[in-house]
Amino acid sequence: MYSREKINNGLIILLISIVCYFIAFEYIIPANKIFPKLSLVFESIFELFKHYNLFSGIAITSSVIYISLSVILLIVVFLKEFNSYFLKLNSFIKVPFFLIILVFAFWFGNVIWAEFVFAIIVIVAHISYKGKVENVKINNLIEFVELNKLSTKLPTKIKSVFTTRSIIEEMRKTHFYLWTFILIYEFINNTGGIGTILERVYNNYDLAGLFAISLILYVLIYIGDKCYILIKNKLNT
């Protein structure tokens, strides 16, 4: 009941905001450099597919993000013995991602497999950072099991289940970060993904195009997140 009420309220606020935006920028202040007209944004969506090759952009970026996430997820679920190593990698990956992107630009240029490698580095680094915090919790759990003499085999079982579950939980957040870093990577390295289209839109001073891409990105990330929740629930580790 509560969540349905919350959704209804959210929808009402969203609809009112869209109507206000439409009236303000379509009729009151149509020409400005801050927010584009809504009709122009929708027009830009079609333009993006027609002139900027957005289909191929979406295919490249989504493949990089979701294939690399799937690879790590498969390792986490089916090769559980690696999980504790993921959490220990934190001390090795401390270089800012922006520098890694620049170094990759020098080394590999716009090669697509390098983008995959970069995506894997981002995911593992993010998981391992979270792992540092989780290690404290794992120790508390183990102490709880040992003090209560619950079972001699339990600490190992709990450690494995806890690590796997917490990595899977964390990868949902990683998904959002990965989108950001991959877009920056493509923006700089010109790999042909959405980031590259963003670079062209930016260079053409196409504000409506920028808003149109933002809208498409929102939908893609939203669908990706929902799919991740579905897969996570199905895995039931």
Partner: protein, 247 residues
């Protein structure tokens, strides 16, 4: 069991010396007290004084100065030890045999979580998580439940509900509770006996049996006897010079 010990659940006699187990260095100075059977006893001492170390020492059950007259002790730590993303039932099954579905249902009913088996406890309140922990203690048939400074930062209404639950369990299931706390008001509200202690070195300063028998906690808190006792013990606190506590 002798006649002398039949009303005692746990006894600590002349516990002295250093302890550096459990990641903390604590010096005990002639610590002696008893935990009576079927009562709620609180060990009231300042934060960082060594309460948790003493509780863990009790749990380890390998100290000759600590004698336990019962079947099983269960320890509820102040940290949350349930797993993110796991349901109530999944969390419980990590700690107990997964083939005792009926026992899990019964325990959840007793702690007031009937129908919450498939809820995720981590997203819930501290009170909800406490009830799950308590259910684990009931499933493994503990007769002494040790609670380590858990009730701080808990909403007042939740706290009263939990305290009423503990009193109900004590009366209906003959359970004994031993709580460590640095919160004076909590200690006074829930306890049948309070042991006042200080840290560095850890030593017991004073203990008192609280004989206030009311039908429920609300009546007890509103009674004149309770106010008088509170005043008396507040004065005692300043006499004992116990610091770093929550009044």
């Amino acid at each position: 069991m002798s006649a002398l010990t039949e009303n005692i659940k746990l006894e600590i006699k002349k516990l002295s010396g250093n302890n550096s187990d459990f990641n903390k260095y604590v010096v005990f100075n002639d610590v002696s007290f008893i935990i009576p059977k079927n009562k709620i006893t609180t060990l009231f001492a300042p934060m960082g004084s060594g309460k948790s170390t003493l509780l863990k020492l009790i749990m380890s059950q390998n100290n000759l100065n600590i004698k336990y007259y019962g079947n099983r002790i269960f320890y509820i730590p102040s940290e949350i030890v349930l797993i993110d993303g796991f349901t109530v039932a999944e969390n419980i099954k990590l700690y107990v045999s997964s083939h005792c579905e009926d026992k899990i249902n019964d325990a959840l009913k007793i702690v007031g979580l009937d129908g919450y088996k498939n809820h995720i406890p981590i997203n819930r309140s501290k009170g909800f998580i406490f009830r799950v922990m308590l259910a684990i203690g009931l499933i493994i048939k503990s007769d002494l439940i040790i609670i380590d400074d858990y009730f701080n930062n808990m909403r007042n209404i939740t706290k009263i509900e939990i305290f009423n639950l503990l009193i109900e369990l004590k009366n209906k299931m003959n359970l004994t509770f031993f709580i460590s706390s640095s919160n004076f008001s909590n200690s006074l509200t829930i306890s049948d006996k309070i042991i006042f202690a200080k840290g560095n070195p850890f030593e017991v300063l004073y203990d008192i049996d609280i004989e206030l028998n009311y039908q429920n906690l609300e009546l007890k808190l509103e009674s004149e006897q309770f106010s008088l006792l509170k005043d008396r013990l507040t004065k005692k606190l300043s006499e004992l010079r116990i610091r770093d506590i929550i009044i």
